[in-house]
């Protein structure tokens, strides 16, 4: 049985930005479903917790919103990534990669002798 992971603070906004970057315009429900699918249901997020993050991103100017009509003719609010949002995404992506690299290296190097660590500098 797969164990569900809690979403870290901050990672959710990165997921939203990436999803919007890939999918273009999308409403809140669509975003939630997409994130669920991408994470293959490994993440335990309440769909509702998406909305405060969306508001925060909008206030920061990373995304835009607009009321529109969904595929099945329902009125919904659609979100779209902005230029500032793409820049933010690129930056946060780099940071995330760095963090992930460092963490991976740290966790994998933990078995090797401490004396070899200075060698890493070369």
């Amino acid at each position: 049985m797969k164990e569900k992971q809690d979403v870290w603070q901050g990672t959710l906004s990165l997921m939203i930005l990436k999803t919007l970057d890939v999918m273009g315009t999308q409403h809140g429900y669509g975003l939630a479903r997409r994130i669920e699918q991408t994470s293959e249901d490994l993440l335990a997020i309440n769909q509702g917790s998406l909305y405060p993050v969306l508001l925060k991103l909008e206030q920061e100017g990373a995304i835009d919103s607009e009321w529109g009509v969904s595929d099945n003719n329902r009125r919904a609010k659609f979100y779209r990534i902005t230029r500032a949002g793409r820049k933010q995404l690129a930056q946060e992506f780099r940071q995330w990669q760095q963090t992930a690299d460092v963490m991976t290296r740290f966790l994998t190097l933990s078995a090797t002798p401490a004396a070899e660590i200075p060698g890493e500098d070369k």
């Binding site: 409403h27 429900y29 309440n46 769909q47 909305y51 508001l55 925060k56 969904s70 329902r74 009125r75």
Partner: protein, 902 residues
């Protein structure tokens, strides 16, 4: 940058309306529906799908709450919501809101008006550099020209002494202008501008070299006059400018904002003192006399010298000045020791922000301060009571909210928000009230000053301060009281009666304070009203009705000596023949105008008498209706044949005079003085010489209406002191307009160039002199009535709510056999204690207030029993009336209905 943008959006979100809330709800609802639709497609029943969707979504309210927190800045957000809620609930009760806001507007507006006046007062200090070093030298002789020059030349501890005349009415004729214009001139000593530290906006100012006999005929314009008359044209400098037909040259314009030494009264033109005799040939000798005090002397202290240190030198300076003045052969034989205590006292000039007129000025300001404080307190008490009544109506609502978990602090905040909103609305209206108040005060020349209402930072800040203060004053106690609820008790009915009792104690206290404040205002209204009546009924010594006074100035267009005399005499003759004129006369001075006082010495040469000098033609006493008590009026033959050349030419003057009653008493100790003789100092007083008293007349008020002692006055026949400016007094029948027009035509025929300085109807003029008192009386009676109304309204409102809350109790009493009279008495008894207590406190406060304002009353004690008892009676009647309505309603309670509805 990102943070900044977010902060801004959050702030904006704080204030955007409820539409965002419904948008959020719609967005989330759409989400749920889409999820549910998907589940239904997957085969769930609609209900199950809905439930599953909600489960997947998470806690809806939690999401919304965190969304809201993100959307806005939390503390401000709740504040905005509080304000919205308060505004809604105030809107729901327009009657209450209207009364409360209007009441507060009066209190706040009046206080703001007061602050606006104070603000202008503070700005309006003596127009000079380092004004704190300026001192005024007081005294009688110290205002005379020889003493000024003596002070100026002999002193060693001042940085200079300056002198200035009052603003004198003169005629102008600017270069190129056809007619004459009437304006105000200030004659100043040569050091005036240097000592005050005032420069020129254009050209130059007056310097000591101008102020010498034979100096250049220089005139300096005030900046305001330069702008108004010449449009600020710099070409005007160097142009000719005739003052009273004497040609002067404009040498400069004083710096902007400088309005002369007397701020209340700006001159148009400033001239050196040396120009006084040539521009006023009629007074060419008089102005230098040691007993004619017409100047204001101001000295600048040396840096670091205190006023006390300088004062210590003054007796010596005075003694040396007397020596010097006597040396000049003026032969006044002024005794050094006699007068030193009154002469040469130094008074700080800057501290009295208003310089010379501060006395006159402070009194009305004091009255306004006192009234506005009282009205502010009264309005606070009234609104507090209204709020208490209101809170008691929302009793259940408050209890429910507490029960649902609202904290007390949160509820108090909400109540205070409502109060603040009321006060804010009141202060906006209050600014309008303040504007109107200052405008009306300025219109009647309340202070003799041109006040304008302007919204300075100080005024706005004080208005905001007063608003906050009132909020706390009237809002806090009701808020504390309304939220102090024993929850368990209030849920059942017994709780209410206990609460009613304690709350009504507070209400009763507020009623008592309202009654007390109203009583004070009513007493004040009565005192001021009676002051006005007393002033209107003062016996001025003459009959004020149907008298017109013409002030004309032929001297200013070149008449002098015999020609001047003939001009006036002709005018008098022509006036006497005009239709509608009953009688007419000439006089140097008419009652209730400026006086020229001088000192004279009696027979033995050591009695000092201050008296008013007037020279009048025959018929003067009949024209003004001044009763002749003994002897006879002047005749034409009493006037000197040859017109003497001025004050010095006494030799040819007539030898008869008429004394006012009080002068006769002072001089001879009796009023039977017809035929007795009288001498001026320095005259030959041997037998048969001196002046003979031929008549005694009633005392007349010459300078003002309220002067404490009657003016001792000596009358001489016209032209006894040379040809000088005269006033033409006319008693007419019927309407004034045709008579005035007739005299103007006669004047036009004689010489169209002669300027008319002013025409006054005596009765009107006296009334205008009482404008200040009238305004105070009207204002205080207005506020007295307002206070009475507010107090009655408050009492009535509180009693009504008490009756409403006790309907059940009253119903039971009636059911048990209480008669209507008993019930009414019960309600009345409730109001009796606070009313009586309020009256008692009010009497005490009125007493203190009377002492504080004592100087404003005339002809009554500051604690006047009649005023107090009248006011108490009026208030009692109003209180009874106010209590009668709720009492009547109580007697009409139907016991069956009352018991059933609870």
């Amino acid at each position: 940058m990102r943070l900044l943008r977010r902060a801004w959006r959050r702030l904006a979100g704080t204030f955007s309306g409820t539409s965002r809330e419904s948008e959020l709800a719609e967005e989330l609802e759409a989400h749920l529906q889409m999820q549910a639709a998907e589940f239904i497609e997957a085969g769930m029943t609609p209900e199950a799908a809905r439930r599953a969707a909600a489960l997947k979504f998470g806690a809806m309210e939690e999401v919304k709450e965190s969304y809201r927190e993100q959307r806005e800045i939390p503390l401000i957000g709740t504040l905005v919501r509080d304000v919205r809620f308060a505004a809604r609930s105030l809107y729901a009760t327009p009657g209450f809101t209207l009364v409360a806001v209007a009441t507060l507007a009066f209190g706040i507006g009046l206080t703001t008006a007061f602050f606006s006046l104070v603000d202008q007062l503070l700005l309006w200090s003596v127009p000079a550099r380092e004004a704190h070093r300026l001192v005024r030298i007081t005294g009688g002789y110290s205002r005379a020209y020889p003493f000024f020059t003596a002070y100026r030349d002999l002193n060693r501890f001042f940085d200079g002494v300056l002198a200035s005349s009052d603003n004198l009415g003169v005629s102008f004729r600017p270069a190129g202008s056809r007619g004459v214009e009437i304006g105000k001139a200030e004659y100043v000593s040569g050091g005036y501008f240097r000592i005050l530290g005032i420069g020129a906006a254009a050209g130059r100012v007056i310097t000591p070299s101008d102020d010498t006999s034979g100096g250049p005929p220089a005139a300096v314009l005030s900046y305001r006059y330069w702008q108004q008359r010449f449009g600020g044209d710099p070409q005007v400098i160097g142009q000719r400018f005739a003052v009273n037909t004497y040609p002067l040259v404009i040498v400069g314009v004083a710096e902007k904002g400088f309005g002369g030494l007397f701020n209340s009264d700006e001159p148009d033109v400033l001239m050196p003192l040396a120009m006084y005799p040539v521009t006023n040939p009629g007074a060419a000798k008089e102005w230098k006399m040691a007993h004619v005090g017409w100047l204001t002397c101001v000295a600048r202290l040396k840096p670091g010298v205190s006023i006390q240190q300088a004062q210590a030198f003054m007796p010596d300076l005075w003694a040396r000045a007397v020596e010097k003045v006597n040396d000049r052969g003026v032969n006044l034989a002024i005794k050094v020791h006699q007068i030193t205590k009154d002469e040469g006292r130094l008074v700080p000039a800057a501290r009295d922000a208003l310089f010379i007129r501060n006395e006159q000025f402070l009194d009305p300001l004091k009255a306004l301060a006192a009234v506005s404080v009282l009205v502010l307190l009264l309005t606070c008490a009234n609104v507090a009571n209204l709020l208490l009544v209101r809170a008691s109506r929302r009793w259940k609502q408050t209890a429910v909210r507490l029960a649902l978990g609202a904290t007390r602090g949160r509820l108090i905040r909400q109540f205070l928000t409502e109060s603040l909103l009321l006060a804010a609305a009141g202060s906006v209206l209050g600014l309008a009230v303040a504007y109107a108040a200052v405008r009306s005060l300025a219109q009647v020349e309340f202070f003799g000053l041109r006040f304008r209402f302007h919204l300075s930072l100080f005024v706005l800040a004080s208005c905001a301060g007063v608003t906050l203060l009132t909020t706390v004053l009237f809002g806090l106690v009701p808020a504390l009281r309304a939220t102090r609820i024993q929850l368990a008790a209030s849920m059942n009915e017994q709780g209410i009666s206990n609460e009613t009792l304690s709350r009504s104690l507070l209400s009763r206290f507020l009623i008592a304070s309202q009654i007390a404040l109203s009583l004070v205002l009513l007493v004040a209204a009565s005192l001021f009203g009676r002051t006005l009546r007393n002033l209107q009924n003062v016996d001025l010594g003459f009959q004020r009705e149907n008298i017109a006074i013409f002030q004309i100035d032929p001297a200013s267009v070149g008449y002098s000596g015999q020609r001047l005399r003939i001009f006036y005499d002709q005018l008098l003759e022509r006036t006497r023949t005009l239709p509608g004129v009953r009688s007419a006369a000439l006089a140097a001075m008419t009652p209730i105008s400026n006086t020229l006082r001088f000192l004279a010495w009696g027979d033995e040469g050591h009695i000092t008498l201050s008296m008013v000098y007037n020279s009048v033609s025959s018929g003067y006493f009949a024209t003004l209706g001044i009763p002749l008590l003994a002897g006879r009026d002047f005749r034409r033959e009493d006037e000197p044949d040859v017109t003497p050349a001025g004050w010095g030419g006494k030799k040819d003057a007539s030898r008869v005079c008429i004394m006012s009653r009080s002068l006769a008493r002072k001089q001879f100790g009796t009023v039977n003085v017809v035929g007795r003789r009288f001498c001026f100092p320095g005259e030959d007083c041997s037998a048969g010489k001196g002046m003979e008293v031929i008549g005694v007349v009633k005392d007349v008020h010459h300078s003002g209406i309220t002067e404490p002692d009657p003016d001792a006055t000596i009358y001489e026949p016209s032209w006894s002191n040379g040809a000088e400016a005269r006033a033409l007094a006319v008693r007419f029948d019927g309407s004034a307009a045709p008579v005035i027009a007739g005299i103007r035509r006669a004047l036009q025929d004689q010489d169209p160039n002669v300027p008319v300085m002013h025409v006054r109807l005596m009765e009107e003029y006296i009334n205008s002199r009482l404008a200040r008192e009238r305004l105070i009386a009207y204002l205080s009676s207005f506020f007295g009535v307002l206070a009475l109304g507010l107090a009655a309204l408050g009492l009535s409102g509180v009693l009504a709510s008490v009756v409403a809350q006790r309907t059940r109790e009253i119903g039971i009493r009636i059911a048990l056999g209480a008669r209507p009279g008993d019930v009414a008495r019960m309600v009345l008894r409730f109001s009796l204690v606070p009313v009586v207590a309020g009256l008692a406190i009010g009497v005490v406060v009125a007493f203190c207030w009377g002492i504080f304002l004592g100087s404003l009353f005339y002809g009554i004690d500051s604690f006047d029993l009649v005023s107090v008892s009248q006011s108490v009676a009026v208030l009692l009647a109003a209180a009874l009336l106010a209590a009668a309505i709720p009492a009547r309603r109580a007697t009409q309670v139907d016991p069956m209905v009352a018991l059933r509805c609870e």
